[in-house]
Every structure is written in structure tokens, then in C-alpha cells.
């Protein structure tokens, strides 16, 4: 089994150092432009904002490792936040249960369509995204009527400080869930199977892997991670709007790609994705510092993703 581990992570580990260098470089540039960035509260805020993206990107990582993609993850996140905010009128636990049931349902539909019916993941999740936008736009006036403000306890769970600065609750949640996720990917049978079917689904099937079950689990895990991220985002903004997580869709893909996970599947790691998440978060702070407009931000964002992905493709082809 060590050989499998080496296979999956050897090529990645080299680029982790390159990513770390980029992160430190960006960090230094930001500090030079805005010395306040080095302060503890500012670092706390940056990590706080990185947590939801890190969780969304975790979901995207596992999908991409199997050779898929989940473009409905932003609407899954928004939907979970919506359900929590409305249903917790009956009690917080009830709201959370409804939200996670919803995540399991949508994840199952995505996963079974991809796994059992051989749907193209891109079209499946793109279509699902459209369906969910419609469902929640209708839902606001019908079956999800009610207050769209998040319960107080979730607002503090997504922005308050845990024990001491700069450790915040969302960071703790990210570390715990992200740690479990990393453990699952690298040390458990399911994780191995995810890499296996991403590398060669046909070979995995012939070796006796029930590919559809792994894909089902993949999309359910992805949806659940998206749900947690959505609830954190909802808590951070206080109230839920239908566009809550929309702007996180491209970053969630970008963080994974920058982190060196191949969209073809079978190669990559969550460690890389964490680096990608931090790079993007520092980058958006930097762009906010130089006071650029949304237009410039979008352009630079797109360009950076392209350049980093290109650089990574170069590095991994040479080695």
C-alpha cells in the first residue's frame, strides 16, 4: 500500500512547496502594501473567511479525484443555509437535520445519476444547479416561507472567536472536518477507492470495486461539505439570500486546480487544496487592499487561476 501512497502523493508533494512559496510571496506583498494584515485580528478574519471556501473546495476535491466535478455545490450550500434559517423556527436541531437530509438527497441524486446511469457529471450538476435555483426561487414564496435570518447560535458559530484570537469557530470547524476528510482520503479504504476509480474506473470495476457506490458516496460527501460551508456562509452574512454562495463556485474549483488536483481524476491531494484556498483568500484580501473594482477583481482572479494551472501543468509534465 505504500506504493499507492507514493504514486498519489509523490508528484504532488513537490508542488506543495511551490504553492507554499507562492502563498508566502503573496503574504509578504500584502503585508508590504498593508502592514495591518500582519496583525492577529486580521489573520483571524482571513482564516475565518477561508473556512467556508476550504470546505467547499474539499467537496470539489473528492469529486475531481474521481474524475467528476460538482457545479451544483454552490446552490447546495445556499439551499442548506436557507433550510436552516427557515426551519430552525421549530428548533435548531430540527433545522440542521432538515438541511443535512437535503444535502444527502441532492448528493444522492447527483451521485446515482453519475454512478448508475453514466451521466456526464458536468451536465448533471449544471442541470441540478438550474433546478435548485428554480426550486429555491419558488420555495421562498411557498414551502420555505419565513424568516431568512440565521439563528443566533449559528451566527456566533460562524464568526466568533474560539478561546483566543486568531482561532475562530469556523477555523476550528474547518480543521476538524478537514482533518477527518484528509484522514478519509489518505488512510481509509474509501479514499483509496476514490483515487482508484479516478485513475481508471474500468480497471477498478474489473478489480471488483462497485464503482457506482463509490461515486454515490463521493457526491453525498461533497454535498454534506457544501452544506456545512453554506451554513457557515449564512451565519457570516447573518441572513440568507439566493445568491449566497454563488460567488464561491469558481473559487471552489480554482482552489482545487491551483492545489494540483487533476480534473481528470486520480491525482492530487487535499493538502494542495488547502494551499489553494489560502492563496485565493490572501489574494482576495490583496485585491481588496489595492481597492480594485469588482471588474478588476474578476479579471485578476481568472488570470491567476489560468496562470497557476498552466504553471502546475508544466511542472507535473516535466517531472
Amino acid at each position: 500500500m505504500t506504493s499507492l501512497k507514493n504514486f498519489a502523493s509523490n508528484r504532488v508533494s513537490k508542488s506543495i512547496w511551490a504553492l507554499l512559496a507562492i502563498l508566502i510571496g503573496l503574504f509578504i506583498i500584502t503585508v508590504l502594501l498593508d502592514p495591518y494584515f500582519l496583525s492577529i485580528p486580521s489573520i483571524g478574519t482571513t482564516l475565518l473567511l477561508a473556512a467556508p471556501l476550504g470546505l467547499l473546495a474539499a467537496g470539489q476535491t473528492i469529486c475531481m479525484l474521481t474524475g467528476g466535478i460538482d457545479l451544483s455545490i454552490a446552490m447546495i450550500a445556499t439551499g442548506a443555509a436557507f433550510i436552516v434559517s427557515v426551519k430552525s423556527a421549530d428548533g435548531l436541531v430540527e433545522g440542521l437535520i432538515w438541511a443535512f437530509l437535503y444535502c444527502v438527497l441532492i448528493g444522492s441524486i447527483n451521485g446515482l445519476a453519475v454512478g448508475l446511469f453514466g451521466m456526464n457529471p458536468l451536465i448533471m450538476t449544471l442541470g441540478m444547479n438550474a433546478v435548485l435555483i428554480g426550486v429555491f426561487a419558488v420555495g421562498v414564496t411557498t414551502f420555505l416561507q419565513g424568516s431568512s435570518t440565521m439563528p443566533d447560535i449559528l451566527i456566533s458559530a460562524s464568526s466568533d472567536i474560539f478561546l483566543f484570537d486568531p482561532i475562530t469557530w469556523p477555523l476550528v470547524i474547518w480543521i476538524v472536518i478537514g482533518g477527518l476528510f484528509l484522514f478519509m482520503l489518505t488512510k481509509t479504504g474509501l479514499g483509496r477507492l476514490v483515487y482508484a476509480i479516478g485513475d481508471n474506473a474500468q480497471a477498478a470495476r474489473l478489480a471488483g470495486v462497485k464503482v457506482w457506490q463509490v461515486q454515490w458516496a463521493t457526491y453525498v460527501i461533497c454535498a454534506l461539505l457544501g452544506g456545512v460551508a453554506g451554513i457557515l456562509l449564512g451565519g457570516q452574512s447573518g441572513a440568507v439570500a439566493i445568491s449566497l454562495a454563488n460567488s464561491f463556485l469558481l473559487p471552489s474549483v480554482a482552489a482545487v486546480v491551483i492545489g494540483g488536483t487533476s480534473i481528470m481524476g486520480g491525482m492530487g491531494s487535499y493538502t494542495g487544496t488547502i494551499m489553494g484556498t489560502l492563496i485565493l483568500t490572501v489574494l482576495s484580501y490583496l485585491l481588496a487592499t489595492v481597492n480594485s473594482s469588482e471588474a478588476v477583481k474578476q479579471m485578476i482572479y481568472g488570470a491567476i487561476v489560468l496562470v497557476l494551472a498552466w504553471t502546475y501543468a508544466r511542472i507535473s509534465r516535466n517531472s
Partner: protein, 319 residues
């Protein structure tokens, strides 16, 4: 036509029947149907039909362009900004310049995909951000305009539905039919069916791909200019480009283009965009919340791809 030929066309026939059925239903809803209503129908589908055609070409060649909506939005914004208040001659010259620009943007996208070796999904997701950013930079607010005689030449006026009909048919006659019969057309189907086999048979895969993305860009630019002509303004918004991209993929897939590549044509997507246009308008005619149409469109796309996949597997063409 022989039986086999009929069977090969069965998908197109089914979609034509569906389009005619929905069209009759819609006409039945209207108090009267004349040339004016016909013009409304054609104007309703023209931008998205053009975009679907561009997307279809790229998908037939084994790729996908998630930035095609952004390309159209960019050209829409540029044309609305610079054509406002110009005379007819300048407007036409500008239109030609922007068509060339769209082609160039498409070619550049194809070139990046070919040389970098990054997956097309990643490249085009990044460029979609970049291009919408540029559009928002050029024109932060909706607005702009176009020379009225050019607008009439694109969209017709009152009950003159000939100009938009010409713009719908002209690209098929002038671009698609020559392309289909040319060397490039054969190369397109070849690289879409099997890239390696095509390469070994002497097809220049990279060049073909760049050319397809360029023509896709030309279609996107056409769609952008037509949008300016129809709406007499521009909308620099990311959600418009995302919806347009989703609809272009839905139109291509519904029009019988296989996402696996190498299958389909450009007439199917045009008829499919009629279907995609009639569904929300019929629902609106019933006084139903337009959000439902998003659900129907998304679900329809999923179901069509699902059925298409099952049918193809049944007939033995596993792909």
C-alpha cells in the same frame, strides 16, 4: 430516405415534433398569431440559438466551452458601448471588428487549451471570469445603444420577421454547410470521436481545435451583437453569462449533440433552442412563476442526456 436514414435522423425528428407541438400550444395560448408574433418567437430564440450552434461545434470536436456566454456578454457590452450614437456605416464596420474580435478570443481560448494541456473545463471557467471582468470594466452599468437602422437590419421591426429569420438561417448556410463538407468538418468529427486515432491518421488535432474554438467565438460574437440589436442595450452581469452558457449546452445536447464528442450537427441545436424558448413562455402564459421554467429546463436537460446515454448504450455505441 431509407429506413436506416430515418433511424439516424430519429433524434432530430423527435425534437422537431416536440418543437412543433409546443409551438402550436403557444400559438393557441395567444389571442392572435401573425407576423408580429412570429417575429417575437424568432427574436426570442436568436441569441441562444447562435450560442448553441457555437457550443455544438466545440462539443462535436470533443471539447466544451464554459466561457461562451461570457464571450457573448463581452461582445454585447463592447458593441453597445461603441455603437451608441454612431451612423450606419460606422456601426457596420464596428460590428465586423467585433465579430473578428470574438473569433480571436475564441481562437486564443483554443490555443491556450491546446498548448497548456489544462482541461478545457478549467481553462474556460477561468476565461469566463476574465471575460465577464473585462465586460464589467468596459461598462459597469447596463446601457449603451446601437444605430437604429442596423438594429432594424438585425431584429426587423413591427411585423417584419425576415431579418431575424435570415440571421438564423444565414450562419447555417454560410458557415455550417461549407464547414461540414470541408476538410475541417471531417477533422472535427474525427477528433471528437477519437483524438488519438485522428492524430495517427494525420489530423492536426491542435490546429483543428483552435479553429473550432475560433468559429465558436464567431458564433458567440454574433449572438452578442444580435443581443445588442434586439435589446438596444447591454447587460454586463455574470449571471447572464452563466445562464447563457447553461442554455447553450442544453440546446446543443437537446439538439442531438453527444457530450462524448463526434456526434451531431448544427440544425438540431437551433430547433432545440425553440423548445427551450417555448417551455418558459408557455408556463408564463399560464401565469405560473417563471422560476418553474428554470426547474423544467434544468430537469429536461438532465433527462435528455440520461435518455440519450441509455439509448446509445442500447444501440451498442458505448461512449
Amino acid at each position: 430516405m431509407t429506413f436506416t436514414q430515418w433511424r439516424r435522423q430519429s433524434w432530430n425528428i423527435a425534437i422537431i415534433v416536440l418543437a412543433i407541438g409546443l409551438g402550436l400550444w403557444r400559438i393557441n395560448q395567444l389571442p392572435q398569431f401573425g407576423a408580429y408574433e412570429a417575429r417575437t418567437f424568432i427574436l426570442g430564440i436568436l441569441p441562444i440559438a447562435l450560442l448553441s450552434m457555437g457550443q455544438a461545434l466545440i462539443i462535436i470536436g470533443g471539447g466544451i466551452n464554459l466561457a461562451i456566454g461570457a464571450e457573448a456578454v463581452l461582445i454585447n457590452v463592447l458593441s453597445a458601448k461603441f455603437m451608441e450614437g454612431t451612423d450606419f456605416k460606422t456601426s457596420v464596420i464596428l460590428a465586423i471588428v467585433f465579430l473578428l474580435l470574438g473569433t480571436g478570443v475564441g481562437a486564443l481560448t483554443g490555443w491556450i487549451i491546446s498548448t497548456s494541456g489544462i482541461a478545457d473545463i478549467v481553462v474556460t471557467l477561468a476565461t469566463s471570469f476574465l471575460l465577464v471582468g473585462v465586460a464589467m470594466f468596459v461598462m459597469p452599468q447596463p446601457g449603451g445603444g446601437i444605430n437604429q437602422s442596423l438594429a432594424n437590419l438585425i431584429a426587423g421591426n413591427d411585423s417584419n420577421f425576415l431579418p431575424p429569420l435570415v440571421w438564423l438561417i444565414l450562419p447555417i448556410v454560410l458557415i455550417w454547410i461549407p464547414l461540414y463538407r470541408s476538410r475541417l468538418g471531417v477533422a472535427m468529427y474525427a477528433i471528437g470521436s477519437n483524438k488519438d486515432a485522428a492524430f495517427l491518421s494525420g489530423v492536426n488535432v491542435n490546429l483543428t481545435r483552435v479553429e473550432l474554438y475560433a468559429i465558436g467565438g464567431l458564433f458567440a460574437a454574433l449572438s452578442g451583437i444580435v443581443t445588442t440589436g434586439v435589446t438596444l442595450s447591454s447587460s454586463p452581469f455574470a449571471n447572464i453569462s452563466n445562464t447563457a452558457t447553461l442554455n447553450s449546452v442544453a440546446g446543443a445536447v437537446l439538439g442531438g449533440v453527444s457530450l462524448a464528442g463526434g456526434v451531431g450537427g448544427l440544425v438540431g441545436p437551433v430547433i432545440a433552442s425553440l423548445v427551450l424558448f417555448f417551455i418558459p413562455t408557455i408556463l408564463l402564459g399560464f401565469g405560473i412563476d417563471p422560476s418553474y421554467s428554470q426547474i423544467v429546463t434544468g430537469a429536461l436537460t438532465i433527462i435528455v442526456v440520461l435518455l440519450g446515454g441509455i439509448l446509445r448504450r442500447r444501440t451498442g455505441k458505448i461512449k
